[in-house]
């Protein structure tokens, strides 16, 4: 049980590292938001699942935290995407505009 939890927390931390590197290297704001939301959601879910494997008596609180993160994280990313689209940010490589020429 303990080592399964450690392995899950390790993969979650690796997802956070991938997210941080992508946040540094991606060219424009929409790809940055893509990498920032999806990778951190799977990372936090793996960390919470690993914690539930290590301490099974805390499962209810951890489930509450997981459901909360799972609801709010895509919602805030959608709000930021809509706001940056309204304020006129553009894609670095926009294939639709190139195809419409």
């Amino acid at each position: 049980m303990l080592y399964i939890g450690y392995i899950l927390i390790f993969f979650g931390s690796m997802a956070f590292i991938v997210s941080a590197i992508g946040l540094l290297r991606m060219p424009d704001i929409y790809t940055r938001m893509h990498v920032a939301t999806k990778a951190t959601t799977i990372g936090i879910l793996l960390v919470i699942l690993g914690a539930a494997f290590i301490e099974p008596s805390w499962s209810l609180k951890l489930l509450l935290l997981a459901v909360f993160i799972l609801i709010t994280n895509p919602l805030s990313s959608s709000v930021i995407a809509r706001a940056s689209h309204t304020s006129g940010e553009t894609l670095e490589v926009d294939e639709l505009k190139e195809a419409q020429k």
Binding site: S13, F16, A20, T40, A51, F68, T72, V79, R82, A83
Partner: protein, 82 residues
């Protein structure tokens, strides 16, 4: 082992903080703030495993709520102004 996870999460936090300080637009900084709050929640879960006390999970829940409210309010601010 938990110290090792803390080091990994702190290095992810450091890389995100570079984007937070460097970011060219306001939306970049808001995204980096969102990622920072989620990494803090993960760090609090690891901390509660390390000290074996479950009240850190309550702090993690409140921290997630405050991070969500912050990024949502900043999104509305980018869109419409105050």
């Amino acid at each position: 082992m938990l110290t090792f996870f803390t080091i990994i999460l702190m290095s992810a936090m450091f890389l995100t903080l570079i984007r937070f300080l460097k970011g060219s637009t306001l939306s970049d900084r808001v995204i980096a703030f969102d990622v920072l709050s989620v990494i803090s929640v993960a760090l609090l879960v690891v901390l509660s495993l390390h000290f074996e006390q479950s009240f850190y999970l309550d702090i993690a829940l409140v921290f997630g709520l405050i991070g969500f409210l912050g990024s949502t309010i900043f999104g509305r601010y980018i869109e419409k102004g105050i």
